[in-house]
């Protein structure tokens, strides 16, 4: 079906744009935002490629990738805010006293 090929080409072009932003992004959060959107487009690309090649079983991998993408984004944000993954947020009372 040509529409699947056209969708895959559009997805690849969008991923190229977002990859450029993730490389030249001036701040760290531009890069995290671009990587998150890149993961979302990867999920769609896996699904569309499964339909293009006539094997929609790839959707299991796409679902797993969506889960990992969300957890990975939150883990990256937590690491860059607290500089540690094991240590949680500071105590609420201590934070209020600091503020």
């Amino acid at each position: 079906m040509p529409i699947f090929a056209a969708t895959c080409v559009a997805l690849l072009v969008a991923m190229l744009f977002i990859l450029i932003r993730s490389f030249v992004g001036p701040s760290l959060y531009d890069r995290v935002l671009a990587v998150n959107a890149f993961g979302t487009l990867t999920v769609l690309l896996i699904g569309a490629m499964g339909f293009l090649t006539g094997r929609p079983d790839f959707l299991d991998i796409a679902l797993l990738y969506a889960l990992i993408n969300f957890v990975g984004t939150l883990a990256a944000l937590k690491f860059f805010r607290y500089r540690s993954l094991g240590k949680g947020a500071p105590e609420p009372t201590a934070g209020q006293e600091e503020a």
Binding site: T7, L28, L33, V43, A89, G95
Partner: protein, 116 residues
């Protein structure tokens, strides 16, 4: 007749979804500010994913594949804006400010984290 209608709706959905994805990617690369790029990322996370998965579901018909596509769409529809909100919150806590908002005017920010 119904098959032609379903095929047409599927092609329309896939084309609209691809257009929204391209607009969102263009906004991410061309918009001038981080806080405006978040809006382009929101277009990709909601409208683009919704239309693309709708088009693929119309191709799949009533089957397990359509259920998996519905699961993917529902999950990304919930977690995409959540991740975007987390990114914006982290950027605000780290000191980035929108144009026109200086560092001291953060009166509505109530998160318990340290302020810059």
């Amino acid at each position: 007749m119904i098959g032609i209608l379903v095929q047409g709706a599927s092609w329309l959905s896939l084309g609209l979804g691809a257009a929204f994805l391209l607009v969102g990617a263009l906004g991410i690369i061309r918009l001038p500010d981080f806080w405006s790029r978040i809006h382009a990322a929101g277009i990709i996370d909601t409208t683009g994913v919704g239309f693309i998965t709708l088009g693929l579901m119309l191709q799949a018909g009533f089957s397990l594949v359509a259920l998996k596509l519905l699961l993917i769409a529902a999950f990304i529809f919930i977690t995409g804006p959540t991740a975007t909100h987390a990114i914006a919150n982290a950027a605000f806590a780290a000191g980035l400010r929108p144009v026109g908002l200086s560092g001291d005017e953060s009166g509505t920010f109530d998160s318990g984290t340290k302020r810059s």
